[in-house]
Amino acid sequence: MLALHFIWYYTLSHLKLKYRYTSLGVVWNFLEPALYLGILSLVFSVVNRMNIQDYVVFLFSALIPWRYLERAVNTASESIVTGDWLLKKMYVSPFVFPVIRWLVAGVEYLFSLIILIFFLLLFKKQWTSHLWIVPLAFIPWAILSLGLGMIGAVLYTFFRDIRQIIQLGLIIIFFTSPILFKPEIFQTASLQARILQWNPVTYYAALFQKPVYYLIWPAATDWIVTIGLSLIIFILGASLIYRYRGKFYFYL
């Protein structure tokens, strides 16, 4: 029970620390995603030659969870190494560190959601009951983020080059997934369409894009692929931390 209290207290401290030395403080939680999303929608609506109102709804639906995943994975990957101040002084389960970073990213995601709702209120023309599935659609993303974060945390502890490789990998996955552009712009048999089909993020994105933008329910395949893959990655991450838990000290 106290371990949970520790995780909770440290997560709150982390959030406080992040904005402790800034003038705008917690306002940055809203401002940063609003500015980022605003700029991106302006630029890519021009590139994709789409109506900005329509494009904003499409883009934001999958970009918000993607940004959450990116942040959770990047910060969780460094978490064991940057947790040396504690790991070298007291016994603490190494699971705690990626979990805390994942929770911090989750809280930031909630702030981004408020921005998303604000933009949707501005630009979304049709509101349907499909939106109710969105909280459930977040679950596979969350499990995947924690799993990847744990894998990253173990690898980064032993190989410091891995951070750049993870960042590069995330960029490649992002640009080969239908988050910035619609899959319909490619011909069915084209290489691009095939890449999209094989990119698992396509299925993760569909969980958000379908109810928010296309106003349909996500398909059974979307759920099966995302939940299955997330669980595999989560189990892999957790077992890696468990297996190497005794070795981290020697690499900090």
């Binding site: 106290l2 209290h5 520790f6 207290y9 440290y10 401290s13 620390l17 402790r20 101040w85 504690l86 790991l87 070298k88 002084k89 007291m90 016994y91 603490v92 032993f158 190989f159 410091r160 080059d161 891995i162 838990r245 005794g246 070795k247 000290y249 020697f250 690499y251």
Partner: protein, 247 residues
Amino acid sequence: MSMVFNLEKVSVSFERYSVKQRSLKYSVGRLLRNTNNSHFQALNDINLKIEQGENIGLIGRNGAGKSTLLRVLTRVISPQKGKIFINDQLHLVPLLELGIGFHPDLTGRENCYLAGLLMGYSRTVMEEKMEDIIRFSELAEFIDEPVKTYSSGMYARLAFAIATDVRPEVLLVDEVFSVGDEFFIRKCILRMQKLMKAGTTTVFVSHNLDFLVTHCNRLIWLDQGRVVMDGEPTEVALSYRAQQGHF
């Protein structure tokens, strides 16, 4: 008396550190060449039983394995070989290298709560103890400052105050008296004596042999990761001093 620690044939070795070892290229190369890094044996086949209520001093020259042994007892280091039993029913508080795990950017007060939770004490309990901790560490003016702004003496004072105020059942201390002024060291010793009288099991690592002989009821002499002698403090200290005299 119940067992607190039981170590059977415990060995710990460190890879000799080189900056290159953290790179992927080096690791892949090592794997392909099937070579291993050279190792430093910090603990070698240690057998040790510690019962509740014992006050133990660990002595030995630099690099003898004292701090590593203390880290094994706190579970910070998992030994590569051997079996280890640690009594989970007892509140164990480590004070390694003059500190509990303090996050440099958090304030002294926030670190107290965090350390308390890690040692098994809720925030409410720590809030009750906060006044005592502040008074003992003499940090009233600085308790809401980030600990990265503390001097090493202030840092050690806060750590010692927290570790001893929670009245641990097992206290493991690594060289805590090497910083801090004479007045504070005296305060620390008084508090340690109180804890020992109250039955706290203690394991000290210190180069202050006189302190250990006066306050401990068992002394363990380590050299090159092995137990050279384990027994009555005056006898062990005498042999240790005699051996050191040869150098």
